[in-house]
Structure formats: C-alpha cells, structure tokens
C-alpha cells in the first residue's frame, strides 16, 4: 500500500496574482524573511541601535527599580481609596452609566452629526446620529477629534507675538487691534447659519478659507449657478456615477454617501431584499493616483489628472453637451473606447446618472461636469442646488487683494486650515500681512504656524466645548451643543465675532458658553420659525431640525463650456512629469498633524504611517531608474511557493540589502529632490500601483515642524536637512522663514514632508514643469503593509456580474483559492462548539462549552461596500483604549490596532488571453480592501496553546481574553492563522512612545499622561499593561451592557403585572437582546454599514440574513477554524460595452 500523497494541482500560468506591496510582487528575500516570522525580527527583541538602552542596560535599570520598590514596602495595607459623590447631583447622570447627547463634528468638507457618549460629563466616544438624514457612520478624521479635546499639548495660553499673556491682557490687546479698525474675519467654509447671520449684521468683512477644498470649485459654481450656492449630490438617485478625479467616497465627500452604498448592496441593507443585477449601481472613475473611490470603481481609467479633462470632453461630446476647444486626439484607442462606452451607459440611464468632478480639479473640468449633468437631467434628482451660508464671504484671494488695497487693518482668523502653513505661495499670506502692517489675530486648537506667526493668539474652544450650528451636506439645520466647558479657557468663534461687533470688548459679550447659546437660539428661532422651548429641546435631543434644507432657485446658467487645451501628456522618459497634491486621508490639509490616532492609522492606499511620501507608478519608477532602489531585487529562482513549486523565471541578480536592517524597523525609501515653483524639496519615494504614468503624487499636510531628533528619521546622520541648508541648526521652514520647531506638538514634530511651497492658486492641485533628481540618501519609513500578511490565498474575494448569469458567478464565491480543491471539512469527531453542534442542540442535553441558548454572537463584513477608509480602525481604538506606539515601533511591526485594514492589489484577469492595449490597460490593477479583526473561531487554534488559560472560549462563542491572567508567552499569536493578536511589547499606555527611547527606559521613562489622553479612555475596558496579549473580543463590554439591561425584564414584568416575582416566568427568549440592538464600535462607525453583527440564535438579526447570502465565505475555510466572522465577496458590475468589461472582477476567481 502506498501512502496517499496529496499534491497541489498545477498552477495555471495565466492565473492572477494579488499582492500587497512591491516587495511581495517582486518576491524579495526580505519579504520572505519577514513573512516567515510571526513577529518581525526586531519586533520580538529588545534591541536598540546607537546610543540606546541595551538588554543588559535595561536589566540594570530594572534591578535598581526593584530594589527601590523594596524600601517602599512600609505598609502592607492597601492605600485608602475615596468615593466622591456629587455635592449637588445633576439631573440625568447615573454614575456608571454614560449619557448621550446629539451634537455635530465639523469636518473638512462636511459636518458629521454625532451622538456623543459621555461618562460622568467626560465625552469619550462619538457615535453616528442615525436619526439625522445624513447621519451614516463617523469617519476616522472626525472620530479622532475627540482625542484633540483632551490633548495636553493643545493650545492653552493666550499669546502675543509668541509670548504668553493673560486673558485680561489679551482682551486689552484685542480691543486695541479691533476697535474702530477695518476688520476681516477669516473663517472655515462650512455652512453655519449663525455665522452667516452675524456676518450680515457685522461691520467686519468675512472671508472663508479651507485648503482641502481649494479654489476652483467655488469659482466654477459662482460662474455656473451664481453666488452662495452649494451642490449636494444624492447618490441614492443615481444608478450610474462618473467620477472625474473626485474621491467622493473617501477624503472629498460631496454629500451623503449612504445612498451610494444602499444602491450597491446586492441583497439590500438588511440582506433580505430581492434585488436583481440591474438594480446595482455602477461607478466609473477617471483618476491619476489610486483613491478609495477608485478602489470601489467598476471601471477605473487611470490617466494623469491634467488629462482627465480630455476624457471628460470626449464624454461630453458623446452626450451632446456643448463643449468648445479641447483636443482629445492624444487619448489612446483604449481610452477613447472607454470614454465612449461610459457615455453610452450614462446616456441609457438619463435621469438616473450623475457626474462628479474633483473639487480641486480645474474650473473647466467642473464646468464640464455641470454641463454633462444638465444633459443627463441630473439637476432636481441626483444633484440639488442648496442655499449656502456664505453670502458675502470672500475667498482668501479676495482677502489678500483687500489687504493690498488697504481695506483691512486686522485679520481675525478662526479657520482650522492654518493659512500661514498652507496658503498658496503666490498669495504670500504672512508676508503680505506684514508688509501692509495688518495685525493677524489667530484662534486655533494648536500653536501651529499661524498661531506662532500671529500678533495675537487665543486658544479656540473645541467643537465639543462650544455652541454652534451648521447645515449638513443635505442642507439640514444641525445644532452643535457643548458637552463640557472649555478645558483651557478656549474662546468660541461666536464669542469673538460678537466681541468684534462690540468694539472689540469681550466684557460686553456674555461669558463662557452663554454667548453661543444666545446666538444659536436666535438663529434656531428663525430657522424653525418658532420660539417654543419644546421644539428647541426636541431639536437639541435630535441634534437637528428636519426639513430645513433651503433649495436654491438657481439653475445652470452656462451656454457652452470653453475648454483650454490640456497640457501635454506627461512622459517620464522624456523628463516630463506632473505633480499632484492629494489630500492626505489622515491629516487632510495639515489640521490632523497633532492627532496620534490619525498619524498611526495607515494610509488606506499606501499603508504608510506617521509620514507622507512621493508616490510613483512602477513603470514610471523604472523609466526614472529608481525602481531597483525601491525594491531591492533578489534572485527569484531560489524561491518556491507554498507548495514547493518554483516561482517565475530566473532573473538577473541584483543588490540585496542587509535583511536585518529591513526587519528591525530600519526599512528605508530612496529620496528624490523635486524642483517646482522655484523650490527644491526632498521626498522619500515609494511605489504606488495603479497610478497613472508620469505622475508624482504627494499627500498634503505634513512637514510642519522639526526638532533636534529629526536625523533619526534618516539612514545616515549626514543627510538630515530641510530646505536648502545641510545640517541646518535652526531647521528653517521654507514657507514661513520661521524655525518650525514650535509649530507642532510632540505628535506632529518630524512628521513627513511639506509640499506647500510647490502650490500656488493655479497649481493648487496639479503642477507641471517639474524636474527631479535622485538623491543618494535614504529615509526611514514605517509601513504596515507587510505586517501580518496572509500569503498567496484567496482571502478577499470578488465576482463579476458580467456574462449574464449572476447565479453562476455567485456559486464561484465559495470555490475560490484553496477552497476550490481542498477536501471538505469533515470530521468524524463531533467537535464541541462546532456550528452544527449548537444548532442541533434543542433538547438541553449538552451543558458543556458553548451551551448558551440565548446568545451566540457573529459578524459579517461585506467587502462589496467596504472601501477601506479606516473608520472602523479608529473607532475601535477609541472604544477599546488601544494605545498608539509611535513610528519606530510601527516600523518594527508592533502596531496595536485590533482591526487591521488589509489592502490587496491584483492584476486584471485575462482568462488566458494575451493582454493588449486594446483590451485594457495592462498596467492597471484592482484594489480590494479587507478589514481583519479576530474572527472568534469556534475551533480557535490560539486557545489550545495558552499555558495559563488566559484566552478561553465563552459560552456565547467569543474568544475571550483575561488580561490579568496573561503572562505573555505569545504562543497564541504564533498559532493564530489570521494574525490578529497584538502584544504589548512595552507599556504603551503608561509610557509615552513618542519621546525618543522613552519606552526602553522602563519605569524611568516619562509617563504617557503628559501627552496622552487618558481622560478619553473607556471606563468599561481594561487598560492593558506591558507583556499582555490583546485582541478584538467583539466589544464584549457592549454585549455585557446590553445583556444586563435586558435582565431588567424580570423587574419590569413584576411592576407591570403587579404579581409577586415568583409567578413571573422568564424564558431564554426574554433574556435575549432584541434584534440588531447591540452595535459594536466598528459596525456603528462604518459609513457604508458594511459590518453586520448580531446573535445567530435570533433569526431577526441581520447578520443571519447576511450569512445566508451566497456571497458569504469564511476566511481560510480549509483550516477548519470555523470563524464567527465571515466575509461577503465583492461584486464588480462592469458594463458589457466597455472594452475591458470581460476582464473585470475576476482577479480572485481563478486563484487556487
């Protein structure tokens, strides 16, 4: 008898590849090494370079500390603790139970209606306000704003030319600067009715500035529709959407996206609706660098952003919009076919299709989009013209013009945009103000460049500390109420405007929040047309007043769009390059630089943390001769795949860098020096797949301040400098000429590179005429991309609606990857806790594990609507007290995020056909995000290896962690196939990881309290210490809360029936939490409701319907771990007349 030897079927040569990084694509030795280890080499070792603490050194310190502790043992009696009840208890506060208030968080593009969770008057978490018409999820940037509230490095002091002054002095100085002067107020550009009302009554002139929105959009709207108009897109009414370089699902929201996702869901939001493929919407995206919207596209055309207008004009022409000029003859055949196919589809769906243009794209492109929408009949259905609240507000350009004309004596800036740092260089903001002797009075949350440059600076109140009101994206009047008094005596915008109107006299303004309340209440009375307290209270409770959107009567007033000839196509080989300044998903225009949650959240596309970099496509990198420097190639012939087969042909051996460096967090990127707009700046350069050729994309908002530790970011000491001077002791900021050291806090200092010197009003988004030099130095980068990778398996899956028979495609979902040929999971041993086991158990015989008949928790994640935006990641961090670890620790693979956002790139599938330029863009790739947290396996491999039973299975199917029992062997993480366990290598919660070498000092290190926000922490979740393993437990604290609340059923039944308690029968069903009631943190934060969570034993829970979907599959099913979290495959909906329709949405289908 021969032993049965199962061999892996031979791989199809033409089969697809999916990869996460250039390293994996090229299969470098370094990547292999990295993959082979559970934690990267450096991650598991206490080893530090240069002059740092060594292991021996550390033991010495620890020994000393222990000896000292001995002296402290004066008494064995534990210290006395105190209970301090309120002297006068406030209404509604129940100690131990959070209160909830509706409020609103102003963002960069839109406001987010939220419900603020407050523990004993301490706001800790932001949840979406689902009552609100545009209340869907809380994005990462808004979620993280709660950390700013408690940031100890927040601006706390009033400043006069950088010197700390008292509030009284500030008041006098303010009065001096403002009284009888021509005052200009520079505000945010969000729609605030109270600000509008005050501005109309005020003698001061108002201007708005928001660097993330740029200048072109407003100019285009004013030209096409008139003044004070906003466009609001309602994607629920759009079945076909064309995005012209607009990241409307990601960083550039232009109205609520809820409708988009609802139309995207194959089985509807509750997974119970019978929809057909025809009901699915379709998204076309034309863009340069990959955006999250591009990742969601059914058809994505990559083209340099300056060339987008050519595609747009061709589409406009096809649709019959009147366009003049614009020569699109330089488009390739494929691009033309693509545009024509897209136009055909839009035309067929007239009245149900819409075009969205990027806000910072050229004015012509936006006008073109307006014209196309007119032809498509989008106005009145998918596009609404709303009355904005910026009547009479000038732009930053107007302000500078007025300053030059001597119409302004003082500028009071309340914009969060930091104009000194990021105003276009041709406006010369700070210089113009100085030359014209205009006083700059700035109000801000941080002492940033504007604050330090200003003549007077006051800390502004955080949005949760002040009264305000806004119109949300759909125009609904939304009230922002304070939850806490200003922690550092911050001044609100309303207070300042009122003071200006009172001759600069703060004494004449009601103090504290009273001024805000009076003014907002007055606006409310006008908006709601009522002075009834009842209605006001209802509005405060709900956070908004329904039906208050004001539609503008303006209609499109555009005869024909004249389009200038687009610049020539950038060709890297000829040295023609194009710079694109993309909005960074974390720090936006720079306002998020001091927020550690945002800094540590990996960029959704590049997965870089704590920095920005210049991104170029692989082909452009090769043309520039820099590709090999980025990816150090290894001889491929030595490499084998998981099953022992050799991968790929033998290629030329290239330089291999020291793998040790790479693994121990010293991974570096080569540096380029870019010259543009008269400035020469350096950037680390990285590969971006799917980016248009000839384009260098650099995110905005970084490089706001540097200090003496800056050199540690570089591979060699000699290469640290900024601007022009090598080893410049003052690290002079090229924009302001100031030493920027003080412009950021400990979080934002030494972070990334500033692109603003390249930008002017006209080249606010795109800059051509760029030259580039490759530098010898290398910069350290911290990417999470390759940490915890899962190699070569069909993990994120997708199918396509192409080919007519969607059911056939659906059947393919469960048969992708190893599941296509791996034997079925059949076990003779009937395992306790298996899915079948508890379902069959109805006679009550089983009393052992997983015996709970009330709750069995489970989750589904729908990849079809997940765009990878990080909202879940940051929400989890806020809910579960997850610490940040700092750039150096991230580089060593020690990040602590419980939800990891994986992102895969995959080549198009040509089904064995020869790819050609006609069929599609062969260098284009698809992008699929996949959030992975602990899957709560029923047969969890981690549990069996724990020597101390610190991770055990609960009766309800949770894989729980008893932190106080964990001794930190890390066996569990080693045995976890999903790599979702995180280990506290240091006391990240207690010691500040941002101070250089601080973590290595052990007990001698500086405490987190100085920069950390311990006040934000959730009191219901343990704060983990050093040496403890942690991971997602389905927000077990929320589950327990819900269960305990449900247990009151006995008492309420006693009260309701009047019977004695022993007569009340409580059944299992009575103790069951009602369907869809409990929401976990990631689920409630998700803007697309991609995550469903609930009880498997409650049929009404949406999670059961989702699990019944044919798209449902388990991750690594063949390992038989029986995960409770399952995924729903992504569905691509290509249009059959598009040239590449056949090849889309199949990247994982043939994987095996």
């Amino acid at each position: 008898m021969s032993k049965h030897k199962w061999s892996h079927p031979k791989s199809n040569e033409a089969s697809t590849t999916a990869w996460r990084s250039a390293g994996q694509l090229e299969d470098t030795k370094e990547f292999r090494n990295w993959m082979d280890r559970e934690f990267p080499q450096g991650a598991a070792e206490l080893e530090i370079d240069d002059d740092g603490t060594s292991r021996r050194n550390f033991l010495q310190l620890m020994g000393g500390a222990t000896a000292l502790a001995g002296f402290g043992l004066t008494s064995c009696r534990r210290p006395e603790k105190y209970v301090q009840p309120y002297a006068d208890a406030p209404e509604w506060v129940i100690p131990g139970k959070p209160t909830h208030y509706a409020s609103v968080i102003p963002g960069a593009f839109d406001v987010t209606p939220v419900v603020v969770v407050s523990h004993e008057a301490r706001p800790t978490k932001l949840e979406p306000n689902k009552l609100h018409p545009s209340g869907s999820g809380v994005a990462a940037t808004e979620q993280a704003s709660i950390l700013d509230l408690y940031d100890p490095s927040r601006s706390k002091a009033f400043l006069c030319k950088g010197e700390v002054i008292s509030r009284e002095t500030f008041n006098t100085e303010f009065k001096k600067a403002v009284e009888g002067k021509k005052v200009a107020v520079l505000t945010d550009d969000l729609n605030s009715p109270t600000r509008q009302r005050l501005s109309q009554a005020s003698e001061a002139k108002f201007y708005s500035y928001n660097a993330t929105k740029g200048f072109a959009n407003r100019k285009a709207i004013e030209e096409a529709f008139g003044e004070n108009i906003d466009l609001s897109y309602d994607f629920s009414k759009a079945k076909r959407i064309l995005s012209l370089d607009a990241d409307f699902l990601g960083t550039e929201t232009q109205g609520s996206v809820q409708g988009y996702y609802d139309n995207r869901k194959v089985e509807g939001n509750d997974y119970r609706q019978k929809k057909t493929v025809e009901d699915l919407n379709r998204l076309y995206v034309v863009e340069g660098p990959y955006s999250l919207t591009g990742g969601m596209a059914d058809h994505r055309l990559r083209i340099a952003p300056s060339q987008v207008i050519k595609v747009a004009s061709l589409i406009a022409k096809e649709l019959g919009a009147s366009v003049k000029g614009c020569d699109y003859s330089s488009l390739t055949t494929f691009q033309k076919k693509w545009a024509k196919g897209c136009a055909k589809d839009l035309k067929e769906n007239k009245g149900q299709s819409v075009v969205v243009a990027g806000l910072r794209q050229s004015k012509e492109l936006q006008l073109l989009a307006f014209a196309i929408n007119e032809v498509l009949g989008a106005y009145g259905s998918a596009v609404k013209t709303l009355q904005a609240e910026r009547k009479g507000f000038g732009t930053l350009e107007d302000l500078i013009a007025d300053v030059k004309a001597g119409k302004v004596d003082a500028v009071v800036s309340t914009t969060p945009s930091n104009p000194v740092y990021n105003a276009p260089t041709n406006l010369e903001f700070s210089k113009t103000l100085k030359e014209n002797e205009v006083a700059l009075i700035s109000l801000g949350l941080y002492n940033n460049a504007t604050a330090n440059c200003a003549d007077l600076h006051a800390p502004i109140a955080h949005p949760l500390e002040q009264w305000n009101d806004y119109r949300s994206g759909d125009g609904t009047y939304t009230i922002s109420q304070p939850l806490i008094l200003p922690l550092h005596g911050g001044v609100s915008e309303i207070e300042v405007i009122s003071a200006i109107d009172n001759k600069g006299d703060f004494a004449a303004v009601e103090s504290g929040n009273a001024a805000g309340l009076t003014q907002v209440r007055e606006t409310f009375n006008q908006v709601a047309k009522s002075i009834d307290d009842k209605i006001w209270k209802q509005a405060l409770r709900d956070g908004f007043v329904a039906g208050t959107a004001v539609e503008a009567s303006a209609s499109l007033n555009l005869a024909s769009v004249k389009v200038k000839d687009a610049p020539a196509l950038p060709v890297a080989k000829n040295g023609q390059l194009e710079l694109v300044f993309v909005t960074d998903s974390s720090v936006l225009d720079g306002r998020g630089i001091n927020n550690p949650w945002l800094q540590e959240a990996p960029d959704p596309v590049s997965k870089i943390t704590w920095d920005n970099a210049a991104y170029i496509s692989p082909k452009t990198a090769k043309d520039l001769g820099i590709y090999d420097k980025i990816v150090e190639l290894a001889p491929k012939s030595n490499l084998v795949d998981n099953f022992g087969a050799k991968i790929g042909p033998e290629i030329e051996k290239a330089k291999i860098t020291d793998t040790k460096d790479w693994e121990s967090g010293k991974r570096t990127a080569p540096v380029i020096e870019v010259e543009c707009n008269g400035h020469k700046l350096k950037f680390p350069v990285m590969i971006a797949f799917g980016q248009a050729e000839g384009v260098i994309a650099i995110p905005t908002g970084y490089g706001q301040g540097y200090d003496e530790n800056y050199w540690r970011q570089w591979e060699e000491k000699d290469f640290w400098y900024i601007g022009t001077g090598k080893n410049d002791p003052d690290l002079v900021d090229v924009t302001t000429g100031l030493a920027p050291k003080e412009n950021t806090t400990l979080v934002g200092v030494n972070r990334g590179f500033n692109v603003n010197p390249f930008r002017s009003v006209d080249s606010d988004y795109i800059a051509s005429s760029v030259s580039l030099e490759i530098r010898p130095e290398r910069y350290k980068v911290a990417q999470t991309q390759e940490h915890h990778a899962m190699y070569g398996r069909a993990l994120a899956r997708e199918i396509s609606t192409y080919g007519g028979d969607f059911n056939k495609s659906l059947k393919k979902v469960k048969k992708q990857g190893a599941d296509s040929h791996a034997p079925e999971n059949i076990s003779l041993y009937k395992q306790r806790g298996s899915t079948e086991w508890w379902k069959k158990d109805s006679n009550g015989q089983q009393t052992a594990l997983l015996s709970d008949k009330v709750h069995q928790w489970a989750m589904t994640i729908d990849l079809n609507v997940c765009n990878g935006c990080n909202a879940c990641l940051v929400a989890c961090q806020a809910e579960n007290n997850i610490p940040i670890v700092g750039k150096e620790q991230v580089a060593r693979g020690r990040e602590m995020h419980w939800v990891r956002m994986d992102r895969y790139f995959a080549k198009m599938e040509y089904h064995g056909e020869e790819p050609s330029a006609d069929k599609g863009d062969v260098d284009n790739v698809e992008m699929i995000p996949q959030p992975v947290a602990c899957s709560q396996c029923e047969s969890a491999p981690c549990e069996t290896v724990c020597p101390v039973n610190a991770t055990v299975h609960s009766e309800e199917g949770l894989n729980t962690m008893a932190y106080n029992r964990c001794i930190g062997t890390r066996y569990c993480a080693n045995n976890c196939p999903y790599k979702v366990r995180r280990f506290n290598f240091f006391d990240y919660n207690k010691r500040n990881p941002l101070i250089d070498k601080n973590l290595y000092k052990g007990p001698a290190g500086k405490k987190q309290v100085e920069t950390g926000a311990h006040l934000q922490r959730n009191p219901n979740v343990s704060v983990r210490m050093r040496g403890v393993m942690e991971k997602c437990t389905y927000c077990v604290q929320r589950l327990e809360m819900a269960k305990i609340k449900q247990k009151q059923v006995l008492k309420s039944k006693v009260y309701a029936s009047g019977k004695p308690s022993h007569e009340i029968k409580i059944k299992h069903e009575d103790l069951r939490v009602s369907a869809n009631e409990v929401k976990v943190a990631c689920q409630s934060a998700c803007p697309s409701e991609a995550i469903k969570f609930g009880n498997l034993l409650n049929e009404k829970d949406d999670v059961n319907a989702a699990k019944a979907s044919k798209r449902n599959y388990d991750l690594l099913n063949y390992l038989n771990t029986k995960p409770r979290t399952s995924y729903l495959a992504r569905v691509k909906n290509p249009y059959k007349y598009m040239p590449d329709a056949k090849y889309i949405g199949n990247v994982t289908v043939d994987m095996h």
Binding site: C76, R78, E80, K81, Y82, V83, Q84, P85, Y86, A87, D88, A89, I94, P95, G96, K97, D852, V952, H953, S954, E955, L958, T960, M961, A962, Y963, N964, R965, N1020, V1021, S1022, V1023, T1033, V1036, Q1037, E1040, I1044, K1047, Q1048, L1050, K1051, V1054, P1060, S1061, H1062, E1063, I1064, K1065, I1066, K1067, H1068, D1070, L1071
Partner: protein, 245 residues
C-alpha cells in the same frame, strides 16, 4: 592530626536545616492565615468623614437601601448618595449637629464653612480595575445586598463582611440557589428563607410552584433558590469574560 572541628559540629548542618524548615513553615503559615484576602479584607473598617450609622438609618428607621443607593437597579455602580440626598432629610433633622459639618460644607449654602466640595467617603469594598462587577445584574435577578455586604443594618461603622475573592464569586456563580430570593425581598436585611416560607407570600410561592408542576419540595433556601433559578432561567456564567474584559 587534631580534629579541626569539634564533635558537636556534626549536628550543626542538621540543626541549621531544621531551623530553616521551621522558619519557612512559619512564614508560609503566616501568609496563609494572615496575608490572604480573607484575613486582609474581611473586617476592613475605615473611619468615615461623617460617622454615618446604618444601624440608625437602615435598621431602626427602616429606610430601604435604595433610597440612598438609588441607582443600584439601573447601574453597575451602587452609588454612594450625593450630598443633596442626605440634605433632603437633614435640612430638617439634626441640622446643627457638628457631626454633619462635612455635609453642610458640601451642600448648605448658608453654612459658614460652605465649600461645595464633595464629601470624601472612604471606599470599603475595593475590587481591582480588571474586575467589572455590575450591581444591577445581581439585584435585578434576586441576589440580595446581604449576600455580599452582610448585615449592613447591624453595622454602626461599615466593615467588609465577605472576602470578595474570585473563588468566593465563583462559589455563588456555580450554585446561585444558595442566594436567590424573591425580588421583593432583595433589600430585606433580616430575610430568612425558612421564615419567609412560613409567611403568606411564602405559602403562595409554594402553591404556585406546585401549580406550575415543579416537583421538588420547597422547604429551605437551597430548594427555594433552585425553584427561582428554574423559574427565572438564571444561568450565571463562569467564563472569564463575565467579569474580565
């Protein structure tokens, strides 16, 4: 050659060894008896800023626990009453007592020493941060205050009555019938199951149990608890996440 060590030294190592064994044994005995939570915690009786007497309030006056600890059925915390709760009565009763000065300092605006600062009561029952105990989950399911806190109504100064160790918690989670009682009796400090069963309410309970087809007899706490456990589907969990999360 003369012996370097005299003969008596032969026994020195044995003596030393014996001595060490005895010292170690004594140390272990000491720790087992005096350094364990039962010995350390039980009886902890700190002095409070106001000599509040539960004997007077809960015992003689017969006030319900929930008048002061008002959120015990709602919240995880059994709140210590805020100063204005005390003031509800004490603005009329014994207002001028010097013992009540800390209260007046907190709440009485006409008092010369008024500060408005909360009273600092010393915590008697401390559980570690990693233990999440929820009062409402217990009192709403028929576990009495007495089970964990003892006869508070007989304590002039409150002390810790039970050890509150994890083993002690698990004893009850494994056999809740030893502590379950009708919801109406949860705050009854003097409750005794056998006495209760003799009362009219107790008789009705037994009758109801029989009417429901409950087979076993109900004569003592265990039997009463077992009936209530089945009646209310009480299944306390023993897995870690119940208290640690």
């Amino acid at each position: 050659m003369a012996n370097v060590f005299p003969r008596w030294t032969n026994f020195v190592p044995i003596k030393i060894a014996l001595c060490i064994v005895m010292v170690v044994a004594a140390a272990i005995t000491f720790f087992v008896y005096y350094a364990n939570p039962e010995a350390q915690r039980v009886g902890y009786q700190p002095t409070q800023p106001i000599p509040f007497s539960h004997v007077v309030h809960a015992g003689q006056l017969g006030m319900d626990c929930r008048y002061c600890h008002s959120f015990v059925e709602e919240s995880g915390h059994a709140n210590v009453p805020s100063a204005n709760t005390c003031w509800n009565c004490h603005q009329h009763v014994k207002t001028d007592s010097p013992k009540l000065e800390p209260l007046r300092a907190a709440v009485d605006k006409n008092f010369e020493g008024y500060t408005g600062a909360p009273i600092e009561w010393v915590k008697v029952h401390n559980s570690p941060d990693y233990v999440k105990f929820d009062h409402s989950a217990h009192v709403n399911r028929g576990v009495s205050c007495v089970s964990c806190h003892g006869r508070i109504d007989e304590m002039e100064v409150v002390h810790q009555d039970q050890s509150h160790t994890m083993g002690w918690c698990l004893d009850c989670h494994r056999a809740p019938e030893n502590h379950l009682r009708p919801i109406e009796e949860v705050t009854n400090m003097a409750y005794d199951a056998e006495e209760y069963l003799k009362t009219e309410a107790g008789q009705k309970l037994v009758e109801h149990a029989e009417a429901c087809g409950y087979k076993a007899s109900i004569t003592n706490q265990q039997e009463l608890g077992a009936f209530l456990r089945s009646q209310w589907t009480i299944g306390p969990k023993e897995s870690c996440f119940t208290c640690h999360r």
